[in-house]
Symmetry: D2
Subunit: 354 residues, 4 copies
């Protein structure tokens, strides 16, 4: 059994804890949290040992009547590997602690790529991180883009990716985040940092991205253009994507018009926390445009693929973290790990049974 | 086993179907739906027999590849009781069908009180509906108010209730509903119809209500004033409410600042669809104000109770529908039914374990 | 001519500057600002002398190419009176500077009542602030409530006010404020601080208030209950309110369903910045409820008045600031000042001409 | 004087009426409206003769106490040209009436291109519509794209345009429109109809568009990619765009982060209804990417231009309608008309004076 510690028990950490516990080859040593709130209580209710992430705040747990199992350092020491799910920037601060205890650690996508030895996406570069000390599971958006790019790259070749990321302003419980009634260029300067982040997984890929922020909380939306180095049919692309793991190509007849409806479906399907671990691609949106200027210098035919995909920012990286644990420790190969991960959490069961 | 048919498989109907199936003394005969969409498929995936609510639309199910068990009339005939969870106004249209087949039916709170024999709230008037043909389970808002009013009435006496209902504009998947950026008096004329609706449960109660609509989807919020015919302490009121079933008095230390956080907690607790069947009352908000003019003509002391409660519009009436089935058929008394209902769906397990 | 300095040139300050400039008996000495942004440029474009509110930031104005007339201290010294429209809390910090230069100052409603000599509302207590050094023009919400309470108090007597304030989450350009999709008790503990703030204007009034925050930016909404010490007709109350200055009783036939429509009307009417300086009360919402328990110990008849009013948080205090200038300096009596203020800015012209 | 009738007095019609009235060579014969509401009253308050668009509804105006000048047919007959600003689809229905009275008419962009003789954008094809009977002023989004495409096309050549239109869900006063908390592919099938609409102005242009709908009311946002047939610097593109009429390239130092801030600036600048007739392009966002695969078959160098532009859906077509009047009637050439239009309404005065 791989002994996994979870440092940070918020949106990502609590989901990773549940997913790890569900794996046949892993156990959760404990979870670390900075302050006693409803999530800390929930960890206790679920039977996770709770560790104090900040020593001087331990009395606050005592006041709230929440028992602690120890300090985060003890958790790190007792773990074979740590998943750091702390807020952006804190993971980098924690890197020294992980090195000190010689415990490999997974950081999240909010950390800078320079902080880590490598970046990880299960579909795209599973085999490249074994033995690394600090590995970054790329962000929800980069995960979503990587899963899409990998099969397109392999099957058709990619000349260039151009994507607008229309991002949710905050998660459902983040009541202090805006905007309330605006559409914000974010960042204003172009191309955005999301493209270079994808390049940590696909170093040679030409990709330009643009980011916006809007008053919605449920999912991110990607407006995707991929100039392919060939000219497949839309139906062909759709078949390809439907055959990929962690990909939900939405059939037209379901009548899902946005993130609200997708989440409703996930609730009805009994998904924990209504999580949608898959990329959600509207089948109807997949289209391929070509034309007279699509012959390149080398005689190659190109075409423009377009599609919309929705990404559940709270959960799509969860199975990726689980896979990264095995990849770093060399405990399984890609296919085996993905199959195990998905089977254990129910991701192998489609949102709609046919 | 009570054979229950569900006519209408949307927000309420699908939840009632799951809740009925979970009961030890009930079974779901089938569910009726007007059109094939993701919810129809979900019904099939869950193994519910699906009936066509509108005969001429049956070919659309066939086109979508969804098998039907028959017409809604067959469902009504085969059922001991029907829960009608159709959109507002359709329930009244269906009343003739239920009478024709001599099947008692529960309508929902969107129907007019004049359409039915009686209105129902499990906490307040369980014993009054046995043998009625058409019973209305009052709306989410009226259910929430009734659960609060009943114990206050019994314990302290109520001179008057004044409540502002700040209502969500639409449910999470109702993407065609607004407003986007406004606060709407709704209805504009005062007092609103919500007060008279509460009077279908508490005929003698003096209650004035005001309704607003805002750009939120998660829960309704009630800003409640109750002028009590005595002068309890806030702590006393809190103790009273904490001892009530289907009531979640939010402890301060949980740090729940609004509906987003409450839903997050429900997700973490593993509630199906993150449903919150309970009234959610902020413990910190409970306050009692009195003063010099609080002596009435009859020498009675009065005081003003204030509190905020959030109501999950999609689910608080679900256990009420289950209880109403037993109440109408005379299959259990109030305490027995509530205990059975809550135990079967997990409502007896608190959102926070201490 | 009264020489007026404006310290703070944001939402309130820029509006007060325009309103002061429009007065026949006042001139704007200059405006002070902390940083060079579009509002600073706009001040320059309008021909206002610009002063640096923070000395060490003066180079940033130079870098942005914006000319400064001097430091804020020079502005204070050159002014007969200063309107401090700085963010909440800064006004209190500035109090020492105003005293040092012996310049009377008006602070805004975000400051604590303890900081100032007196609180001000033109309709309610114009005559009480003459000669005071530091006067607080009460907040947008308290201004709106005071204008409503004063005539009701005078005409009918008030037993108690109970009001729920459904507040906008942020102003239209405050893109960093939430919530996006929530309804927040704010503050959670009841009654809220708004009631005591109204008591700075009406010390004897019994008033309990509750506050909520919602995802809207245009106006606040008050759900008002006033228990009156008499039993007027709704029509009588409506006539009374229609005869009040700075009060817009919305006729039904206009079809204004919320703040968006009111702002649209203000735009169409050519109001600067679409400002709505008046309380906006839905005529249709005005209702009076009485009943059997409405006889008090002293034999007095009481009744419950209900209504909805919308308050434009960005502008309703603007004419109040102008009046406060004259009131503090003893330059005009109440009626004269209100008439002059309203005539100069166009508030005497109704939003609808009949 | 050109006698102009306005049929439809809503969001667009009322703005066009004001703009036409401001022109030195035009007069407003009258405006037609279907029902008496605050906008009808506002038309009367402004001194516009009001005509009934639907004869049988005339009594409703009488009931509301609003005087009518006659029926819409009389307005059409008395006008040299009519601007039809009716809701989408009604303009097409009205086409027969305009032909019957032999009055040329301008329809709006919501009408199908097949209904009209030609489509119009002042910057791009002013000279092509003279003498046409029915001319369509293209939609707000197509107007915004056309103004941007024309100079890029002329200066650099365009290989292809790819644009994601993130559209506001409704206008500020349209309280019945959603979504409240979602991001909707709209339309789901790609490419969207916006591209072909641009082709009514630029028939040869290769353009693919994608549309989304979000919970915002203030402006649309375009995430623009233009593959140029040359490789200019970003600074060069910026200079080009800054020199264009009806184009506001936002300087960084203004600190405008979204539509809310832009509208605030327009309010401060005293723009009527805070209208922003210009394309608003974030200067900082303008970027040009090139690279190894940017050599095409014909040896041509290409590069990818990216930028964000915000479009005020309520007003950017207003000056276009005014120009179209002169273009159709042959009363002025392009430069003369644009200069006259902009000078008369104040569009020649920049939002920031330097």
């Amino acid at each position: 059994m791989i002994r996994v510690g979870i440092n940070g028990y918020g949106t990502i950490g609590k989901r990773v804890a549940d997913a790890v516990r569900a794996q046949p080859d892993m156990e959760v040593v404990g979870v670390a949290k900075t302050r006693p709130n409803f999530e800390a209580q929930s960890a206790v209710d679920k039977g996770f040992d709770l560790y104090a992430a900040i020593e001087e705040r331990k009395p606050r747990f005592a006041e709230a009547g929440i028992d602690l199992a120890g300090d985060v350092e003890e958790l790190v020491e007792a773990s074979d590997i740590v998943v750091d799910a702390c807020p952006s920037g804190i993971g980098a601060d924690n890197a020294g602690m992980y090195r000190e205890y010689d415990t490999p650690a997974l950081l999240q996508g909010g950390e800078d790529a320079e902080v880590v030895d490598s970046s990880f996406n299960a579909r795209s570069n599973f085999d490249t991180v074994e033995g690394d000390d600090l590995v970054r599971v790329v962000s929800c958006n980069t995960t979503g883009l990587s899963r899409l790019i990998a099969p397109l790259q392999e099957e058709y070749g990619i000349e260039k990716v151009r994507t607008t990321l229309v991002r949710r302003g905050g998660d459902p419980a983040q009541s202090d985040r805006g905007p309330i009634n605006d559409i914000l260029p974010n960042p204003v300067s172009l191309p955005s940092h999301h493209g270079p982040d994808v390049n940590t997984i696909f170093p040679e890929l030409r990709i330009d991205t643009l980011g916006l922020k809007v008053p919605a909380t449920l999912m991110h939306m990607h407006s995707v253009n991929v100039t392919l180095e060939s000219e497949p049919s839309a139906a062909g692309v759709r078949d390809l994507l439907e055959s990929e793991p962690r990909m939900f190509v939405i059939p037209e007849w379901l009548g899902l018009d946005g993130a609200g409806a997708i989440k409703e479906l996930a609730q009805d399907a009994g998904r924990p926390r209504a999580d949608i671990w898959e990329n959600c691609i509207w089948g109807e949106s997949i289209s391929v445009e070509s034309g007279s200027s699509s012959i390149r210098a080398d005689g190659e035919v190109v075409s423009d693929l377009y599609l919309f995909q929705a990404i559940h920012q709270e959960s799509d990286v969860v199975p990726e973290n689980v896979d990264a644990i095995r990849a770093v420790l060399g405990e399984a190969d890609q296919a085996e790990s993905i199959t195990t991960t998905d089977g254990a959490i129910g991701l192998d069961e489609p949102l709609v049974r046919r």
